[in-house]
Each structure stands twice: as C-alpha cells, then as structure tokens.
C-alpha cells in the first residue's frame, strides 16, 4: 500500500472546548482508495469531514490530534490558508445539491472561481468546459451559462463534483452526496465518483449511513459510533464477518427480502448524545454481548490477519473466549 494521502490521527473536535463531538478518530486514505465512513445521524461523521476540510463551524474546534495532507500538517488551517501555503489539496462534495450552489451566480462563474485559485495557468472557461465533460454533463457549453435553479438535483451534484475537481484535489470528501437524489441518479453519481477516483488516482472519503452504498462503492470501511470509530477493515471481510456488535447490529437492520417477519429489525435504545457518552464502551448500554468489563476503562483494539480492527472486548466471529 502506498503512502497515505490523508491521515487523520486521534482527532478530537469539541464544542467550546468542553463537549467532544468527535472523540479520537484515526484513519488513513491512500491514493485511488475509497474509504466509506459509516454511522448513524449525529455520530460525528460530518464534523470529522468538515474538520479535515478546515471548515468547522465557528463554535467547533479541533482540540486534539492532527490532520495531514501528504506530508503537510493542515490541522487548523482554513481552505484559503491551505492555498496560500501551497499544501496538498482536498475538496468536498456536500449532501444537499439544491442549496450548495450560489443561486445568483452562473454555473460557469462558480466553477471558474475555483479554477482561478487552484489552476492559475489554464484558461478558466476552457477548463470549466473540460470539467463539465468529465462529470458527464451534456451540452457543457450551454450549461456553463445556466443558473443553478435551471438544473436538476443530479445535474447540480455533478456541478458540485466539477467544482471539487477544479481544486485538483488529491483527496475528495463526499458527504452523503447521493442522499438527496433519486435511486437511478444516485447510481450514476456513485459510478462517476468511483470512475474519477480510479482515473485521477484520488483518495475518497465517502460518508454515508447507507450500508448498501458502502458495500457497492468502498474499498475500506470505518464504522463510527458516538463520535469514535468502533471498527475498520476492508469492505469484504468487514461485511462478511463483522467483529463489533454495533456493525453487526447495523447490518441486521437491513431489510431481508427472504424474511417472513413484517417488522424491520432495530437496535434497541438510542445513541448517546455528545457530552453524555458513558465510560468504557459507548455501545455498552445497547449491546447484546455486554459484560461488566465493558462499562469501564479503555476498551482494547483487536486486530485480525485480514486487516480488520475493532474496539471491543467480546468481538463476534472470533474464537476469543468471552
């Protein structure tokens, strides 16, 4: 495996330096690799990605850990500071294509704005047309002069991807980029991301709560719960033999077409809120395999030969005596 292009190490993001939203998250992404970051709403996925972008909202700050792009530490740098310092490049596609484009500026202007910052030597209009071709927007010439409200959701998300690519990123963060799109468009956009990742050798951090999308798209998966990672691993072994009971629980929630049970499975209870995360394993109150030891101290990380890792005393699918 080649050197990681994005390394997040022991990242802690807090509100007003007191309540931790993200609690010690670490992962690496290699060029050409898609890492799927999975978890329920509110588990800290988006804040992790915004911290990596340097776009945390004013009330939040990185209080510990580091974010490195290639060799450069960019932990507390805003995007324009990264440009000024000539750091490695990271770009982001957001969840909501309908509101992520400026309604009063033409598509072309919005793409060219990013080109001028990151690619000062090219002709912006030409490069913008190339980018629209690259993200498969038909009739690029015409669309450059369109306003966002004249495009469909899928087209807008392609424009967002074009804007991200205009930054010539070595890492692309995609924060639930297909959640707001209908299923056929969703497939097209996912296919496009996979293809761009391969052809441009970008690393991709793909954030979603949709396990189906991850299984289809990602090379590796990181499962997040209550602000921390509970399990990481390559996509096939992780979904084949999940170690952490939370991962297994999430998979158990997927509808099974062959089941006779009319009810969807759920994980009982609800995730702890930031600031109310219990000692020990945060999943302990909801875990079917919980023992007394789970409720206190630091839970060890166990590793398998296949490169899977989980933070659990009593992992599944392992011959470890409970």
């Amino acid at each position: 495996m080649s050197a990681p292009i994005l390394s997040v190490d022991d990242l802690v993001v807090s509100v007003a330096r007191t309540v931790d939203i993200v609690r010690g998250v670490s992962f690496d992404i290699a060029p050409g690799e898609i890492l799927g970051l999975v978890g329920e709403s509110g588990c800290g996925k988006s804040m992790t990605s915004l911290a990596a972008m340097g776009l945390l909202p004013p009330a939040l700050a990185v209080s510990r850990g580091s974010i490195r792009l290639g060799e450069t530490d960019v932990t507390r740098l805003a995007p324009h500071e990264r440009v000024e310092q000539g750091c490695g490049r990271i770009a982001m596609v957001f969840q909501e294509p309908m509101t992520s484009l400026n309604p009063v500026l033409r598509i072309g202007d919005q793409i060219e704005e990013a080109i001028r910052v990151h690619d000062p030597d090219v002709v912006p209009a030409e490069r913008a047309r190339e980018l629209l071709d690259l993200v498969r927007i038909p009739d690029a010439e015409h669309q450059l002069s369109a306003f966002p409200h004249e495009l469909s959701g899928g087209m807008r998300q392609r424009v967002m991807i074009a804007i991200a690519l205009a930054c010539r990123p070595s890492v692309l963060i995609a924060d639930e980029p297909t959640t707001a799109l209908d299923v056929t468009v969703q497939r097209q956009v996912l296919g496009l991301i996979r293809e761009l990742c391969d052809t441009l050798d970008m690393g991709v951090l793909f954030i979603t709560h949709d396990l189906g999308v991850v299984a289809q798209l990602a090379d590796r998966v990181a499962v997040m719960y209550a602000g921390g990672l509970v399990e990481t691993g390559d996509v096939v072994p992780l979904f084949g033999q999940p170690l952490h009971p939370y991962t297994a629980g999430l998979m158990g929630c997927l509808p099974d077409p062959e089941s006779d049970d009319p009810l969807l499975a759920t994980i009982p209870g609800s995730a702890p809120r930031p600031g109310g995360v219990p000692d020990g394993c945060p999943f302990a109150p909801r875990c079917p395999r919980v023992q007394d030891v789970c409720r206190r101290g630091v839970v060890p990380v166990i590793h398998t030969e296949t490169g899977q890792a989980a933070r659990c005393h009593f992992p599944l699918n392992r011959e470890v005596a409970p």
Binding site: V83, P103, V104, A114
Partner: protein
C-alpha cells in the same frame, strides 16, 4: 422582461386610479360645505359661488371626478386657493428642495447603512458589532425631529459648522455651496432609515453566511473577503433592495417633519401649511404626485430585484 414591465405598469396604473378616487373623494369628506370651510365664515355669496364653480363642485360627482382626473392627466392640478396660482406651480417651487433632500438622504442611507451593516455582520458578537448595533437601535428608536433638534443644537448653534435652517436654491447666489443647508436635515432624515438598513443588512448577511453555498465557496479556498462580497453580500442585498421601497415611504412622511424643523421651503412644508390653510387643491395635488412617485419607485425596486435574482421568474 418586456411583458413583465407591461404587467407591472398595468398594476401600477390600476393602483393609481384607485388612489386618485380616494384623493378626489377626500374633498367631499370634509364635514359641511368644502367651499365655506376653505373660505371661512366671512365669505360673501359671490366668492362662494365663484370658488364653487372654479372647483367644479356644481357638476354631478361622477362628472367632477372625470374632469379633475382629466385635468390632472394634462398636468393641471387646479388652482391653489391660498396663492391663487396653479397647484403645479406651488409644488414645483418646493420640488428642488425636496428632491435634493431626498437624494442626499438616500446617499447617506446607502453609504452608511450597507457598509456598516456588513462590518457589524463580519464582526458578529465582537465589541464593534455590539457598539454599532446599539447605535443603530438608538437611531432607529428616536424620532426624526428630536435628532434634527440635537443636530441643530450641536452643529449649528454650538460648533457653527452648518446653517441651522432655510435653503437658498443652488441656482441662486452661492451655487452648489448652498447644499450645506441640506447637510443637517438630510442627516436627521437619514438617521432612523440608515439604522434600519444597517440592521437589515447585518441580519441578512448573517442569514446568508449560514447558507450551504457559502460553505461551498469557502471550500474552494478563495479569499474570505471575496466570499463576503461575492457570495454573502450579493445575496444579502436582495432583502435590502426590497426594503428601499418601504424606506422611501418612510422618507416621505418624515420629510414633512424634517422640513418643518429646519424651515426648508420643500413640498413637505407646503403640505403642512396647506393643511393649516385648508388649501385642498394643493393637498390633493401633492398626495397624487407622492402616490405616483411611490408607484414608480416600487416598480423600479421590483425590476432591479429581477435583475439581481435570476430565480425571480417573469412568468
């Protein structure tokens, strides 16, 4: 665009016709006989008959309206009872003062309200913002005449920088330097309105800065100043521009007070004096012209809104 202008103009004309009926009816709302009210108790029967005929009050009401409206369309708003001159002449005499006062006031409002609103928004929660927002609150709360009186007290009586009252035309001796007579009145008139625009700009900037597309702009790595001007301010101004129509309406009523405080020979003071003199043709004429101006300005605001925001469809 052309069809939109035609439709909006049609709507404006309909409003104008409705307003003209109200303005016309106004003379008939006077309790008793308007002619006696205007001439006073000591009028002779000949004077009464003459005025009644001149005002057309001996015709049927419907006919009176069409005669009055028809004349108004031709630029004839009737005769002033007090001055014995055409109403248009009376209004034209005050127009220079009022138009210049309004223009200078708008310059203050725009030059102060918008940039300071932007500054307060950028420094949200810092002492600059708190100071400016507090000042805006104060200015928006105090009445225009009170601000006017204090401006006179400080800058005219105390420091002697500006004249306290009156306004000789810029076409008379002194030329453009006569504009100094309008500095204090325009500041008094601008204060509450600039404060409103400031607060609106600030609030609108803060709203827009939370939009997803502002985050997209930041993510591109462009300079923060560019994010503010091109992405936040550009969208925040949409709300501010639509407020200018209302600001104009506020200016009209406050100008009446300001012109009185500063003894300016403007249309506002003419209205006040005409009311005291029961010079109904002048009052009707001024109101009709203000309605026209108001309609034109709101039409312009709507059109500029259309140009600023591509999402506003022409249907």
């Amino acid at each position: 665009m052309g069809r939109y202008i035609i439709r909006r103009t049609g709507a404006a004309i309909a409003t104008l016709i409705a307003a003209s009926i109200v303005i016309f009816a106004f003379i008939h709302l006077i309790p008793g006989d308007p002619v006696y009210v205007m001439l006073g108790d000591g009028a002779t029967p000949e004077q009464v008959a003459a005025l009644r005929q001149r005002l057309g009050l001996d015709e049927p009401v419907i006919a009176q309206y069409f005669i009055w409206a028809g004349n108004a369309l031709q630029g004839d708003l009737g005769q002033s009872v007090f001055f014995e001159t055409p109403v248009t002449q009376v209004i034209a005499d005050g127009a220079e003062t009022s138009i210049l006062l309004a223009l200078i006031t708008m310059v203050w409002i725009i030059a102060f309200g918008i940039p300071v609103g932007v500054l307060a928004a950028i420094r949200q929660g810092k002492w600059v913002d708190q100071g400016l927002s507090g000042l805006a609150m104060l200015l928006a709360s105090v009445p225009t005449f009170w601000v006017g009186l204090y401006l006179i007290l400080i800058f005219a009586v105390g420091l002697g920088w500006f004249p306290s009252s009156g306004y000789p035309s810029i076409f008379e001796e002194g030329g453009l330097s006569n504009l100094r007579y309008l500095v204090l009145p325009s500041l008094a008139l601008a204060a509450p309105n600039a404060a409103l625009i400031l607060r609106l700009t600030r609030a609108s900037m803060l709203d827009v800065s939370r939009e997803d597309y502002v985050r997209t702009a930041r993510a591109k790595g462009i300079r923060p100043s560019r994010v503010v001007v091109r992405h936040i301010l550009r969208n925040a101004l949409l709300a501010v521009v639509s407020a200018f129509g209302f600001t104009f309406a506020a200016l009209i009523s406050e100008a009446v007070v300001t012109e009185t405080v500063f003894a300016l020979p403007g249309v506002g003071r003419t209205v006040v004096q005409s009311i005291l003199r029961r010079d109904y043709p002048v009052i009707q004429g001024v109101i009709l012209i203000i309605v026209c101006l108001y309609l034109v300005i709101n039409l312009l605001v709507d059109l500029s809104y259309r140009m600023l925001d591509p999402r506003v469809e022409l249907e």
